[in-house]
Amino acid sequence: MIHDYLSLSILLFCLGILGVISRRNVFTVFMSVELMLNAANLAFIALARLHENMDGHVLAMLVMAVAAAEAALALAVVILLHKHTGKVDTNVFSLLKG
């Protein structure tokens, strides 16, 4: 049973990774990051069940809080960038390079 949860978690995590490295839309990228964090959350909950303690729950809550904070910040940044360039394509934001 725990394996299924964990497998799902790993799958989600990998999807997240794939999303970050393959997608150019800033929103999708952030969603992928969220996916990774949620994969971790899933694992936390499942493992908390396995170990029968509350640490995992606490962690999951904290991760969610962090994810929310990051999302808020991310949205602000995306809006800011959109104001500057009118685009949400990460490839556009490569003025800093070399």
Partner: protein, 637 residues
């Protein structure tokens, strides 16, 4: 054995002090108010005269000693002492050096006095005398130095002065080039000298590196070492004494003022090589093969330069080649272990060659620095005293009996014949004839016939007494010096040879009087033939010949200078330029530049990797993580 005296050090020191005083006074005042030339003249001339007095004292002191103990030493201070190497600044006066001392200081005194007249009015009168004094000091160190290292001080010192004085008229590039050539060629010889000295030292030097100890320990040397040392020292001698293949500097050295040519490039410095070989006679005597090399080098030099001498136009060049030629004789003498004969020729040569140069100087002075003999002529009447003295000098040089040159040269030729080296003797006699020819060619062209340049002739006049008196004194020397070593054939007792005997490791050649008579007859015949041909060709006036064919080749000294230029000078300069400007910057520095280049290349590669796309950065991270994971799984095994 040797007696310690405390005044030997004074002898070289006096002229050096003189040089310093005159030099400093000159430097301090030349730009502002010049001091009178007379002051410098007095200062500068006093030192050679004083040294001459001391030389005489040395001679009498030595004379007062028993024959076996005729050596005065003076160890002034320990020069340097490093490990087994203990070199002291010591001086040695033995019969050999005392003889050298006498004529060096004597001719130097006369030439100093002569120079007062010759250099009068020169802008750097004092500088000239400072250099002359410096030269004299160095020469005396060379002569008196006890041990090769001290000798080397003088050896290089005279080389330096020679350079300075050749380049004296430094505005003219060719003069300076001549000076450079002299110094560099001498340095090549010195290279040999230093090496010879080093090998000698590491063989026996640890138990004393002065002549007396060396002489005592010479028997401990391996024959191979002796050969090597003698050859290397001879390389030094060829440089200093202008022998094949290093003679090329001496003719060019005539660029210096004429008294310099007389003093340095005829009478004293150039004979240092001969003196050195005689000094090391205790080594050379053990290696006859090397002696033969020395003798042949000498006699061939004599031949070659005599050939050059027959086709020169410049009065000083004629004399210069004759000097080279006479030096060749001397080497032939010392090479054949007839050291006293060689040294005696050095001695007489100093008189007549200094005389000839000073005479030539008078002519040049009289003609306002005209040196081409084909612009002269008929000067006999205008410069009678000069003519007479030069005639005496020429006769001595040409080997006319009973002039000094006859006895000394004859003794060398006689020893060649007596020791069975007929080849050397034949060449020697041939050269004697050629010597007579070119000497009298010069005399006839310059003094006889009719004037070729009427204007110069009109203005020619006998130089002042300060110049003529030395000429006369030297002429007397040239005339009579030969009698000092009169061979027994003429009822003499060979005083000079006997005087020198304690210093030299000489075996006397026992030969019959008949051989001696043959030798003399041949020399006199050669002299007569030479002078006859010269008279036939030039006695009644002749025009400047057009050199062609062999004579042109000889006039250009067999193109040896050009050959050296092509073989050594140009390649050396080209290599220098190539290394300094190309190879060093691009080849030697190449590895460094290559590293830098790679570093930069890598740098630009890494710059390319920083693409700026955030996705790519994430990919890098994932790749990194994969590698990390891989390494982690590796460690599970």
């Amino acid at each position: 054995m040797a007696q310690n005296v405390s005044y030997l050090g004074m002898i070289p020191l006096l002229p050096l002090i003189g040089a310093a005083v005159v030099g400093i006074l000159h430097l301090a005042t030349c730009k502002k108010k010049r001091l009178p030339d007379q002051l410098y003249a007095v200062l500068a001339c006093s030192t050679p005269i004083l040294t001459f007095v001391l030389a005489v004292k040395v001679f009498f002191d030595l004379n007062g000693l028993p024959v076996d103990g005729r050596a005065l030493t003076h160890e002034v201070f320990t020069w340097f002492e490093v490990g087994e190497m203990n070199i002291s600044m010591g001086f040695l006066a033995d019969p050999l050096s005392s003889l050298m001392l006498l004529f060096v200081t004597f001719t130097a005194s006369l030439i100093h006095i002569y120079s007062i007249g010759y250099m009068a009015g020169d802008e750097s009168f004092a500088k000239f005398f400072a250099y002359l004094n410096l030269f004299l000091g160095s020469m005396l160190i060379l002569v008196l130095g006890n041990g090769p290292v001290v000798m080397f001080v003088g050896w290089e010192g005279v080389g330096l002065c020679s350079y300075l004085l050749i380049s004296y008229y430094s505005e003219d590039r060719s003069n300076v080039l001549a000076g450079n050539k002299a110094f560099i060629v001498n340095r090549i010889g010195d290279f040999g000298f230093v090496l010879g000295m080093a090998f000698l030292f590491w063989a026996i030097g640890d138990s004393g590196f002065d002549y007396i100890s060396l002489k005592t320990n010479a028997h401990m040397l391996a024959p191979a070492t002796v050969t090597l040392v003698c050859l290397l020292l001879f390389v030094g001698a060829t440089g200093k004494s202008a022998q094949i293949p290093l003679y090329v500097w001496l003719p060019d050295a005539m660029a210096g003022p004429t008294p310099v040519s007389a003093l340095i490039h005829a009478a004293t410095m150039v004979t240092a090589g001969v003196y050195m070989v005689a000094r090391f006679s205790f080594l050379y005597v053990h290696v006859p093969t090397v002696g033969l090399i020395v003798a042949w080098t000498g006699i061939l030099t004599a031949l070659v330069s005599a050939i050059y001498g027959m086709f020169q136009n410049d009065i000083k060049k004629v004399l210069a080649y004759s000097t080279v030629s006479q030096l060749g004789y001397m080497f032939a003498g010392v090479g054949l272990a007839a050291y006293s004969a060689g040294i005696f020729h050095v001695f007489t040569h100093a008189f007549f060659k200094a005389l000839l140069f000073l005479g030539a100087g008078s002519v040049i002075y009289a003609l306002h620095h005209e040196q081409n003999i084909w612009k002269m002529g008929g000067l006999k009447t205008k410069l009678p005293l000069t003519y007479k003295t030069m005639l005496i000098g020429s006769l001595a040089l040409a080997g006319c009996p009973p002039f000094s040159g006859f006895f000394s040269k004859d003794e060398i030729l006689y020893s060649a014949l007596a020791s069975g080296h007929t080849g050397i003797w034949v060449v020697g006699v041939l050269v004697a004839g050629m010597t007579a020819y070119y000497t009298f060619r010069m005399i006839f062209v310059v003094f006889h016939g009719s004037p070729r340049d009427a204007h110069a002739y009109e203005h020619a006049h006998e130089p002042p007494a300060v110049m003529t008196v030395p000429l006369v004194i030297l002429a007397i020397g040239a005339l009579f010096a030969g009698f000092l070593n009169l061979p027994s054939l003429f009822g003499g007792s060979q005083q000079v040879t006997h005087w020198l005997a304690p210093s030299l490791a000489e075996h006397a050649h026992e030969a019959s009087h008949s051989i001696e008579i043959i030798a003399i007859a041949a020399s006199v015949a050669a002299f007569a033939i030479g002078i006859f041909i010269a008279y036939r060709k030039f006695g009644k006036g002749a025009e400047e010949p057009v050199y062609s064919g062999f004579s042109s080749f000889a006039y250009h000294t067999f193109r040896i200078n050009e050959l050296y230029d092509v073989l050594f000078v140009r390649p050396y300069k080209a290599i220098g330029s190539a290394i300094g400007n190309l190879i060093d910057a691009h080849v030697t520095d190449g590895p460094v530049q290559l590293i830098v280049w790679f570093y930069r290349q890598f740098g630009s590669t890494f710059k390319l990797l920083q693409v700026g796309y955030v996705r790519v950065y994430a990919i890098y991270m994932i790749i990194g993580l994969s590698v990390m994971s891989y390494l982690l799984t590796q460690s599970f095994k």
